[in-house]
């Protein structure tokens, strides 16, 4: 963007480096600006001042607003002038003042050289995902002071009055606030070598001193007696599982979310080893996680889709939803198109085709979303086999055209085999 350097218009000289003149930079597209005049651009942008519609808006008043704002900015060109700073000094409707302010801002007549770092940091802040526990602080449910009934103290979820305050994350909780504890619970550290006691630890009976297996064997008891130490079972379950999500946990999470929707207390109970917040965050991270929970909200209660058990045959009631059934058939048949190599795994796939499932929204949903819904409805083993069958079909499809053209049967196998494994893994997780 070109810039022109405007001199303080009080001086007429054109030599910019003479120290008596103040130099202010404005963009070249604003070179129409004149102190002693109102340009057509301004008249067009702010007609309210120029159409005589109100005695509170006149060209004179506009010029006053404009000049005041620009001069105010130029008192300190490196600092960004905010609207709130100027509006206290100007008489008039704040929305109108803001309009003038934004006009000058956009044309670079103010804030052109100013510090824009704050804007960037504001934008970054918006991108952080904040997971909040419970309703915002502004909504409060308190005991009615006039009522004689005792207030139930164990009211899960509702924020209480001054006395009972659950430890909630503030709305400004950052990533480290939410997940910092994960790091702390990394595992029990040995008192002697400071390492992680993963494969087992020896706990002192009378205090909290802990030794890892290795140190115990090495005889590093410190000043404690060997008899006081008791072996605590393998803590493989303690250390690592708290950090990463295993497949089992993820599947539990998906099942329980599809069953309970966004009742995170129950979900967290089902996935025993993760807290509510971890469950929510994990679900968001999953590629179709949001669809699962939103789908659950729209589920027809009559359909009673609680079956995550085997086979999936008994689970789906027949509901007359013609469009959706056709759509689901199309989806499935695309996947299993022209497939001679199905094998007995894919025998589980046809039952889905036969059943009608009611979808809460119309037939305009994308295939990905539908697949996500289908996979959330059935058991994980079915999803896996469906994925495998789909890939077998795709390999087959890819091979057909190339077969007919080049008669090279190995072409497809070269292309797809590497993908097969990794992508079907992604379907599972």
């Amino acid at each position: 963007m070109e810039t022109t350097t405007r001199q303080d218009p009080k001086a007429e000289s054109t030599r910019p480096d003479e120290p008596e003149f103040d130099l202010y930079t404005i963009p070249s597209y604003s070179s129409w600006f004149r102190w002693n005049d109102i340009h057509e651009t301004e008249r067009a942008a702010m007609r309210e001042f120029f159409d005589g519609s109100s005695v509170t808006r006149s060209p004179k008043i506009y010029k006053e607003y404009r000049d005041f704002m620009i001069n105010r900015y130029r008192e300190d060109p490196s600092t960004r002038l905010t609207f709130t700073e100027v509006r206290k000094s100007l008489v008039g409707d704040v929305s109108l003042l803001n309009k003038v302010f934004q006009f000058l801002n956009q044309w670079g007549l103010i804030n052109f050289g100013a510090d824009s770092a704050r804007i960037e940091s504001e934008n970054e802040y918006k991108d952080e995902v904040r997971v909040e526990d419970g309703p915002p602080n502004g909504i409060r449910v308190v005991a009615d002071p006039n009522s004689s009934k005792p207030f139930p103290a164990s009211h899960a979820g509702a924020p209480l009055g001054a006395d009972v305050r659950r430890s909630k994350l503030s709305p400004l909780a950052s990533y480290s606030d939410v997940f910092g504890e994960l790091g702390k619970r990394k595992g029990i550290l040995c008192g002697s070598c400071g390492g992680n006691c993963e494969s087992g630890r020896y706990q002192h009976d009378k205090d909290s001193y802990v030794l890892c297996v290795k140190c115990f064997k090495d005889g590093k008891y410190g000043n404690k007696s060997v008899d006081d130490f008791k072996l605590h079972g393998s803590s493989v379950s303690d250390g690592k599982q708290r950090d990463a999500w295993t497949e089992a946990e993820t599947l539990l999470l998906l099942e329980s979310v599809s069953r309970h929707g966004d009742d995170w207390d129950i979900v967290a109970q089902t996935v025993k080893s993760k807290t509510k917040l971890e469950c929510i965050s994990k679900l968001i991270e999953l590629p179709f996680g949001e669809f699962i929970s939103s789908y659950n909200l729209g589920k027809d209660p009559a359909s009673g889709l609680s079956g995550n058990g085997d086979g999936g045959k008994d689970v789906f009631p027949s509901l007359p939803e013609q469009q959706d059934m056709i759509k689901s058939e199309n989806v499935m048949s695309q996947q299993a198109n022209g497939n001679e190599q199905r094998g007995d795994d894919a025998d589980k796939v046809p039952p889905l085709k036969k059943q009608c499932v009611s979808y809460s929204s119309g037939s305009g949903i994308s295939i990905m979303r539908q697949i996500a819904r289908i996979s959330s409805m059935v058991g994980d083993d079915i999803t896996a086999t469906a994925a495998k069958a789909a890939f077998a079909a795709l390999c087959d499809e890819a091979s057909c055209p190339s077969d007919s053209f080049n008669n090279e049967e190995d072409f497809a196998n070269e292309l797809w085999p590497a993908m097969d494994q990794s992508v079907s893994e992604r379907w599972l997780i």
Partner: protein, 236 residues
């Protein structure tokens, strides 16, 4: 951009919120059993009525309130909606009305006091945008402050709009000449400033310096104890 239609004090306008979006301020203050639920938000009056019960149910469920709250919440919203709609079709005499809006509210730890002018004739005005600018400029981080400020503005605008309906009715019934209309405006709607007095500084758009801090926003952060004190005061 369309120029605003020329207005004069005689032209009445159909009742509506003088903002670009027809959002109505709704307050809830419901007591059931031993629990009291307070909330304040804006509602889009053009939303279908079925949305009210959906919202009420959702709120009750999210906050894990007893079931009785859902019906009460829905009722309260509907009552306020009906009240708003009862003004529909009536005329409000806006005329030249630039009114002072005052902010005096506490949102969690943030205490806000402010004063500024609002043009009731400006149907493009947007309290939410004003409040967004307000929070950005003052570096307010609590995300609940913005909506609360917008709500406070809307509430006052609503009040003034209702008053101006009453005024319009009065002046129609008065059957006086033009002079009569003027006098009833300035008498019953004390909120409207005399326009000439508005530009008291030699009819300049720039305010006298000594008045600057009256119109400057004041934002305070409270400590925990102070928050508790305020809460007790408000609930008494």
């Amino acid at each position: 951009m369309k120029p605003l239609p020329s207005t004069s004090s005689k032209t009445p306008v159909k009742f509506r919120m003088p903002t670009s979006e027809n959002l109505v301020p709704i307050r809830l203050d419901i007591e059931v059993g031993g629990q009291r639920f307070k909330d304040a938000f804006t509602w889009n009056i053009s939303d279908p009525d079925s949305e009210v019960s959906v919202f009420a149910k959702r709120t009750q469920k999210d906050l894990k309130l007893p079931l009785a709250f859902a019906t009460q919440i829905a009722q309260s919203i509907q009552t306020q909606q009906t009240e708003f709609r009862s003004y529909k079709g009536q005329e409000m005499l806006t005329g030249e009305k630039i009114v002072p809006i005052k902010l005096d509210l506490r949102v969690n730890r943030t205490l806000i006091k402010d004063q500024f002018l609002w043009d009731l004739n400006n149907f493009d005005s947007d309290p939410e945008e004003f409040s967004k600018t307000f929070c950005n400029d003052l570096g307010i981080e609590d995300p609940e402050v913005g909506p609360a400020v917008a709500f406070a503005i809307r509430e006052q605008l609503y009040e003034i709009a209702i008053q101006s309906v009453a005024t319009a009715r009065e002046s129609r019934n008065a059957k006086k000449g033009r002079r009569g209309e003027y006098s009833s405006i300035s008498r019953s709607t004390g909120a409207a400033l005399d326009l000439m007095k508005l530009f008291s500084n030699r009819y300049s758009g720039v305010r006298k310096r000594k008045e600057w801090d009256v119109f400057e926003p004041m934002v305070d952060m409270l400590s925990n104890e102070e928050v508790e004190k305020w809460r007790d005061l408000e609930e008494a």
